[in-house]
Amino acid sequence: MNALLRIFGAPAILLVRSIGAVRRHGLDRRETMVQVVEFGSKSTLLIVSGLAFFGAVLVTIAWAQARKYTGNITVVGPAYFELMVREFAPLLVAVLAASRIGAAISAELASMSVNEQLEALELSAADPLAELVAPRLLGSLIALPALFIVGTVASAASASLVVTFAFGADGGAFTDARFVEAPDIVCAFVKAVLCGGFIPLAAAARGLEAKGGAPAVGEAVTRAVVDASMGCLLIDFVVAAAFILIGV
């Protein structure tokens, strides 16, 4: 319970304080765009390749199940596709982004904090929360839904390519959007946005509190990545359960 409070409490406090800091100091738009590029374009390769591989694996499993019990991929294909869009793509994009973005943010902020560059910022009348945390938060909020779209397209494309060329069946059967409805897409985007907000906050909370020398930086990165990925798993579970409870 303590650990849970720690994972969500520090980012929540940081969120409130960052919003306050932005209202006092204003937001650096240029820095925000830099962060969007940093998170979005530099994570694209990892997320596209990861999700493309995952799509191929998922369709291999669907194929094995189809041959064993139902006989035809067109029966299980659409259901797997809905599952991919609604559940697995947001989850995997979030966990991958938690590693990539979370590690980058915490490493950067922790090494600044250890070298006392944050105090230097404060001395020059700049608020680290407005200058550093808020742009990263906004950047990740914009980048993650975009990464989710790219990742889903990559996984669907690789899945239908595998079906067509490796199994010799109709590749379109897998990407049949028969079951994909508006609530599925809303559910996926809610997950992407919530995780996109949570990852930079959790990472920044761990990065900012780093004190000491180089060991503190390593410790901060480890804790940040663990916090971010566990938090994303938890957020995904809660959102999925909530959407099922309200029955969509």
């Binding site: 291999t60 798993l233 579970f237």
Partner: protein, 255 residues
Amino acid sequence: MIRSLGASTLGLVRFTGALGLVLGRTAINLPRLSLRELMRTIVLFGYRSIPLALLAAMLIGSTVVLQAGIYADKFGARLYTGWAAGYALMREFGPLLLGLVMAARIGARNAAELALLSINGQIEGLRGISLDPFRILVAPRVIGSAIAITTLGSITFLVAVIFETIASYFSMNMPVRVFLTPFDEMLRASDLLGGLAKTLVFGLAIALVSTVSGLRARGGAAGVGRAAAAAVVASCAAIFTLDLLLTPFLTKVFS
């Protein structure tokens, strides 16, 4: 464009070479492994990660059932829910998600520790007093993390199945006996072994990749951060790649 392509290709080749070197020297040092260090690694990476693995198992198990339940109702295949949930858990999602979480926990920590030693020149120090760093530092870590992750994998599977059962009882009103029957009738030991084999390979990959990025770290506190971040990202990439390579292979071997 071409310059950056060339640079990243060179980087990849260097990384692969370093990976091969670490793997080779670990294998050579296997017979004279430092047992004390091995035990320390298993406690540090395995025992200390149990709470995290349990939390991940709870979430994986409940999520898999919540999703499988929708389709079970849609296709009228409630009796198969147990099979679908168990198969998906052991063959795919258990190993994959555990691998990703452990890449964060074990990979980042291992890389940070080694990066620290390497930046402070302590690894040269070891060589200076004629101790082989691969024997007392690297080999125990690689073997220890692989053992730790595989063991955590089996615990994770067990806990996740328990939570699948609980979740199916509450979300689908499925009697425990009905949910668990397909485990007996339709799943085989080979499904479990296939999943554990995947976990073992992922564990080895995490250990090797994080060791290499830790040992290659250069340049102060920022270097430690960069090494840990690179270790997590590279481990995740390696896990997805290996997953793709292993799934068709394991389906053939264990089916």
